[in-house]
Symmetry: C2
C-alpha cells in the first residue's frame, strides 16, 4: 500500500462531505478534510483543485455523458427524445440509490455560493446539449429550447428522485417530469 | 436644483453602464462612476448598495410584476396562460426599444460573476412564480414546471428581442418562444 492508501480520492470525498454537513462548507478547510481522511493536504491537491471541486468534480463527466447521449441517439429520435434518452443514460452517474446525491444537495442548499455554482453548471450543460443538437442538424431556436426544457426535466426529476422515500429509479422520475411538462404545455 | 441634481440615479446608472462597457465591470470603481456622473460617492451609495446593484436593482420590480401578473390573471386561465400573461406584462419594464437591455446584456455576458448573478436572479423569479401559482391553487409539480418553462420562454424571448434588428415588440418574441416550446414538446 502506497503512502496515499487505497481510494484516497474516495476517502477525501467522504471526509469532505461529512465536514461540509457537520460544520458548513464555508467553515471547512482543506487541512481539516485531509486530517479527517488520514491524508495530507498535498494529497488532497493531487485529487482536487479546491474544496469546491469535491462537489463539482463530476460536472464534466455529466456534461460529456449528456452530449454523447444526444449525439448517439437514434437518427429517428426527435430532438426532445434524444435529450431525454441522454439524460436517462446520464442518471447512471448518480448511482443506484440517492443517498450520496441527497447529502450533496443538502450541502448545496445550505450555501448560496454553491447554489450559484450549481446553476452555472446546469446552464453550461444546457449550452453543450444545445450544441450537440445543432450537430444533429436541429436548428435554433429548437436546439436551445429543447436543451433548456431537458434541463428543467432533469432538475425536477433530480429533486423528486432524492426525496422519494420509495427510492424509485431515476428513469421513473425523469419520465414523470416529462409527463408533467406535457401536461403544462397542453394546459391539462 | 439640490446638490444631487435632477435624476441623480439615472445619471449614475448611465455613467456606470458606460464605464462597465469601456473598462469592464470588474475594473470600474464606484469613485469613477460618481466622477463620470459629476456626483459624489456618497450620492452613489444613497441610490445603490454597490456597483452590482446598478445592473440588478430592477430584479425586485421584475419579480413583483410577474407575481402580481400571475395572481391577477383571469380565473379561467391555465397555469401556463397565467405565467405568459404575467411575463408579457413584465416586459414593459424593459422599455419600448432594447437599446438599454442590449447594453446591460453585453456587460453581463463579459463577466462570469454577473452571469452567475443573472442565473440566480432568474431562479429566484422562477421560485416566486411557482409560489404565486400555488396561491392560485395549482399543485406541484405543475406549479414548479410551469414557472420553469415560463422562465425558459422569458430567457429565449429576451435573447431574441435584444438581437432583433427589426426591433419587433417584446410580446411577439414571447409568443414565438411559446410556439417554439410547443413545437419542441410535440416533436414537430
Amino acid at each position: 500500500m502506497g503512502r496515499w492508501g487505497p481510494d484516497a480520492r474516495g476517502r477525501l470525498e467522504r471526509a469532505a462531505m461529512e465536514l461540509y454537513e457537520e460544520r458548513g462548507y464555508e467553515q471547512t478547510t482543506v487541512a481539516e478534510i485531509a486530517a479527517r481522511a488520514g491524508l495530507t493536504e498535498r494529497t488532497f491537491f493531487r485529487h482536487f483543485t479546491d474544496k469546491r471541486e469535491v462537489l463539482f468534480g463530476g460536472a464534466g463527466i455529466l456534461q460529456e455523458r449528456v452530449v454523447t447521449g444526444v449525439l448517439d441517439a437514434s437518427a429517428s429520435a426527435t430532438p426532445l427524445q434524444a435529450v431525454m434518452a441522454a439524460l436517462n443514460h446520464a442518471g447512471r452517474l448518480f448511482g443506484e440509490t440517492p443517498t450520496r446525491s441527497r447529502q450533496r444537495q443538502r450541502i448545496i442548499d445550505a450555501t448560496p455560493e454553491l447554489q450559484a455554482r450549481e446553476l452555472s453548471k446546469l446552464s453550461t450543460v444546457a449550452g453543450a446539449t444545445a450544441d450537440a443538437l445543432r450537430q444533429r442538424g436541429v436548428p435554433d431556436p429548437a436546439a436551445t429550447l429543447t436543451a433548456e426544457v431537458g434541463i428543467v426535466a432533469f432538475r425536477t426529476a433530480f429533486g423528486h428522485w432524492i426525496s422519494d422515500p420509495a427510492e424509485r429509479p431515476w428513469s421513473d422520475h425523469l419520465h414523470e417530469a416529462l409527463d408533467g411538462l406535457h401536461a403544462v404545455m397542453t394546459g391539462r
